[in-house]
Symmetry: C2
Subunit: 300 residues, 2 copies
């Protein structure tokens, strides 16, 4: 059985009854596990985290549209977080026993059905996008719902599926496939913010560092230390151990050491296993040697 | 849902029909996964590896006795491997979401039922044994089936369950609970067998090393290198990274380096995660941050 993670971002974070109805609809789909959901009133937005195989996950996303499209009207929606649709973003993430290519196919399949069944135009993003100018979520969302009609009429912004005009109340959706994101922080044995900022600049892609690292330096005032806060957007191509070792070396250069690191939220076991493989110099390791993986893949 | 591993050792490795009938009986139990089974003709012994929650695992062990007791007669059984019963050894191993104490209770529960339903005397071993002199499998099995009647009549060898005399054809069974065993080898960049043997002696419990390490030095003639071959019998109390780092330091002392390590067979993900936690200095890590664990434990 494959494990695909799906994290829909929905433009409702204030009306508990609407959020609960969506959560209930997701829970009701056999083969889908709703792992988490959280709402932010100031953003007026909710994030659902669910997992399952392709079929059940597709059914859950469609059930979510059934509830959310009639219940959410962006013409009256306000909130701090940028959005262009009632169901704003739907990423599919390969976790185990499934390829990125399969998640891209799932994104296209779901996108086409969302457009035909609900009349909501769909933009594919990240790995599912064929157009480099439409890979990045921020680029697609720029202008938000209020600017959507004009944007969709302009050159290069015909949606991948559905009508070339926004759904009157639900706007449009951005659906795609990406690698799991790991929120990873490294705390330094110092209160020197300049050191954290210099190290963050050294490792992040935007300033010449690793391709799949976003990073910034912060102060943890209450503890009198500083933190290199990171998002690792592809742990296969930019593994955690390489980032950690680089931060360690850069810290030494400033006479500073690593106090500890922390993983915020969930992490795929493969990301941890690759660190164990590296440091223990394990040769020829196969994922199905992990007893829990074997359990999920065994059909004896 | 808890994951308990059970690895019954059965005294039949030559008659495929008997082995297949046992495997089929195990597969037929809902909630049990038969992960692997292998037979050795010269040992005339088969090892089955299965996993599941306590109820299904108990049902599977009893189903195995139903098939194996009438089919295997130790009075005519020959083989290189020491044995005292048709179903020789049945260990229960806590893998996830279950304590060792719960596996000890399961061993006692199954042991009592095996004795009452099949008339097979049962000795509890390892964590399930209350008597230090009866913890070790080799001590219980010494004398084998041929010496069992005399041994059971002697002081200190009354079984934990069942009659104080062997079952005429099935002998006795050793049932208990233990931690998962990790078969872990470290290959050295040298052909000096003396170095592998010295390092093995330095880390193994029997000669003053780590409490939960069994180790020996071997030559890999075809590759022209040597190997420190280990069994790690409690990865929580003697973690892999500590053993690896000790072997690394000992190797340096002889001007030798680690070429690679290898994990033979299955390993619980917790054993790999603890290495990642150590080397990445991860603070406050919780097992349910591993997405796959969260998937198994979530009941939303």
């Amino acid at each position: 059985m494959a494990i695909i993670e799906c994290i829909p971002n929905v433009s409702e974070g204030r009306r508990a009854d609407v959020v609960d109805a969506i959560a209930a609809a997701l829970r009701a789909v056999p083969g889908v596990r709703l792992l988490d959901h959280s709402s932010d009133a100031s953003h007026n937005r909710s994030v659902f985290t669910m997992a399952g195989d392709a079929g059940p996950i597709k059914a859950a996303v469609l059930a979510m549209y059934e509830r959310a499209v009639p219940a959410i009207d962006l013409r009256t929606h306000t909130g701090e977080h940028p959005r262009l649709g009632a169901i704003d973003v739907v990423p599919f993430v390969p976790i185990e026993g499934v390829t990125m290519a399969a998640c891209v196919e799932l994104a296209k399949d779901v996108g086409a059905e969302v457009a035909s069944r609900f009349g909501v135009p769909v933009y594919l993003y990240e790995e599912a996008s064929a157009d480099p100018a439409r890979r990045n979520l921020e680029d697609i969302r720029r202008g938000e719902f209020e600017g959507l009609a004009a944007k969709m009429a302009s050159k290069g912004w015909t949606p991948d599926y559905g009508p070339a005009a926004p759904h009157p109340s639900a706007g449009a959706s951005v659906i795609g496939a990406r690698m799991p994101l790991i929120a990873y922080n490294i705390n330094l044995n110092t209160d020197r913010l300049d050191v954290a900022k210099k190290i963050a600049a050294a490792i992040r892609h935007s300033s010449g560092g690793f391709r799949y690292v976003k990073a910034a330096g912060f102060e943890l005032k209450d503890r009198g230390i500083v933190q290199v806060s990171m998002n690792l957007t592809n742990y296969e191509k930019t593994p955690m151990f390489r980032v950690f070792e680089t931060v360690k070396r850069e810290a030494e250069r400033y006479g500073v050491s690593i106090l500890e690191s922390e993983i915020v939220g969930l992490i795929p076991s493969a990301a941890l296993n690759s660190a164990a493989e590296y440091y223990l110099q394990i040769a020829g390791f196969k994922a199905d040697q992990v007893l829990e993986n074997k359990l999920r893949t065994s059909h004896d």
